[in-house]
């Protein structure tokens, strides 16, 4: 593993590294919640994989004999990254509407001239939104999701940066005790911040309901538990924390669909 010269934004310390010719982001475990954030990032990627949704590969690693996480860089030769935030910012010089609302997200994804398939992007957005609900995801700001550009056209990037999930600040080593301190999404619903479960329950967005229904059918707590353990997460943490949270949130969602 060698450090390269790639820069990745965000609050956490991270480095670009190259392993066997592939680029990765290396995040050393730091601070009070470093270990649980690292495990949460890995667990979140496994949930997406079990649901067969595109996500960054996450691996546990060591850096200077300390725990770290390796996250695969999804940009390949000739491609570039475009965060959703930059598409909204383009509106600043036109309509002036740079609000991070579901309405603005829909209209941007469906009408932006460089987006190749707006419906595909909308589906990717709502899949991410519903999984973020299941995993107790963080706010998901407009820079934390986006697109891969290639030859002038944009398509959805795999989901990335899910480390602030699974109510990591609540983790003390004891089993999960519902409901957990959920972070509301940064997007606005009817002008206000609103819990993800309430957005799903509203039925206002058919694409959201479709994503929730797909995930309801596909979700398997048992498979996820096996995958977490195989990936190196201790059985107790996997069962008492990660899958306990998923099952609790899943059951709440099941009731409203």
């Amino acid at each position: 593993m060698t450090i390269n010269n790639r820069f990745y934004s965000g609050r956490d310390e991270k480095y670009g590294v190259t392993v066997n010719g592939k680029n990765f982001i290396l995040k050393p475990v730091k601070g009070k919640w470093g270990m649980v954030k690292m495990m949460s990032e890995l667990a979140a990627s496994i949930v997406y994989k079990q649901l067969e949704l595109p996500v960054q590969n996450v691996l546990l690693a060591k850096w200077n004999n300390e725990p770290a996480v390796l996250i695969e860089d999804f940009i390949r030769e000739g491609q570039y990254f475009v965060p959703f935030a930059s598409l909204i910012e383009e509106n600043f010089d036109k309509s002036g509407d740079t609000s991070y609302s579901y309405e603005n997200i829909h209209s941007t994804l469906l009408t932006h001239r460089r987006i190749e398939n707006g419906k595909e992007c909308l589906k990717a957005f709502w899949d991410m939104f519903v999984v973020d609900y299941l995993i107790g995801g963080g706010g998901r700001n407009a820079s934390n999701w986006g697109f891969i550009g290639y030859e002038g056209k944009l398509s959805p990037a795999p989901v990335f940066d899910s480390s602030s999930s699974f109510y990591y600040k609540d983790y003390s080593g004891a089993p999960f005790f519902p409901p957990g301190t959920a972070t509301p999404p940064r997007m606005t619903f009817n002008g206000a911040i609103c819990a993800r479960i309430d957005v799903i329950a509203s039925g206002k967005y058919p694409e959201c309901t479709s994503s929730a229904q797909y995930i309801r059918k596909k979700f398997s707590s048992g498979q996820i538990l096996d995958m977490l353990i195989n990936a190196g997460i201790e059985k107790e943490m996997a069962a008492d924390w990660f899958t306990a949270i998923l099952e609790y949130n899943y059951k709440r969602m099941e009731k409203i669909l």
Partner: protein
């Protein structure tokens, strides 16, 4: 009101050489007010193939404005490729670039790091080579 200004050129690599595509100025004052101004070099951009130039994050170049101003918010082009003030290893990143005071444009001009998401980079303006 007095503003400090830090300026640079946004460049791409074209035929192996740095090729300026847009000017950028960052104005700050003593009350922490700031703004960024992007001035695209449309005539130069027209000469580039789409494999080299694919727009500037956050800027709708089809409007063909002379200047795109971002007042008191950090444009995504900058926030994507420079450290935020709360970055945990900010001091190391500043030291490595030889920057004493936090300034995104100065950092981008001096760092050896390159944004993962595209091939663009910043460097000092060189007015002799524009046209």
């Amino acid at each position: 009101m007095r503003f400090n200004v830090e300026s640079a050129d946004i460049c791409v690599l074209f035929n192996g050489e740095p090729y300026p595509v847009c000017g950028i100025e960052y104005y700050t004052d003593e009350n922490d007010l700031f703004y960024y101004c992007f001035t695209p070099y449309y005539e130069r951009i027209k000469l580039l193939p789409s494999s080299v130039f694919h727009g500037i994050q956050g800027i709708d170049l089809s409007l063909e404005k002379e200047c795109y101003v971002r007042k008191n918010f950090v444009p995504s082009f900058i926030s994507e490729r420079s450290p935020i003030p709360t970055r945990t290893n900010l001091a190391d990143l500043m030291n490595d670039a030889g920057i004493a005071e936090y300034n995104t444009i100065a950092w981008l001009k001096h760092t050896h790091l390159r944004y993962f998401g595209d091939e663009y980079f910043l460097r000092e303006k060189n007015k002799n080579e524009y046209f």
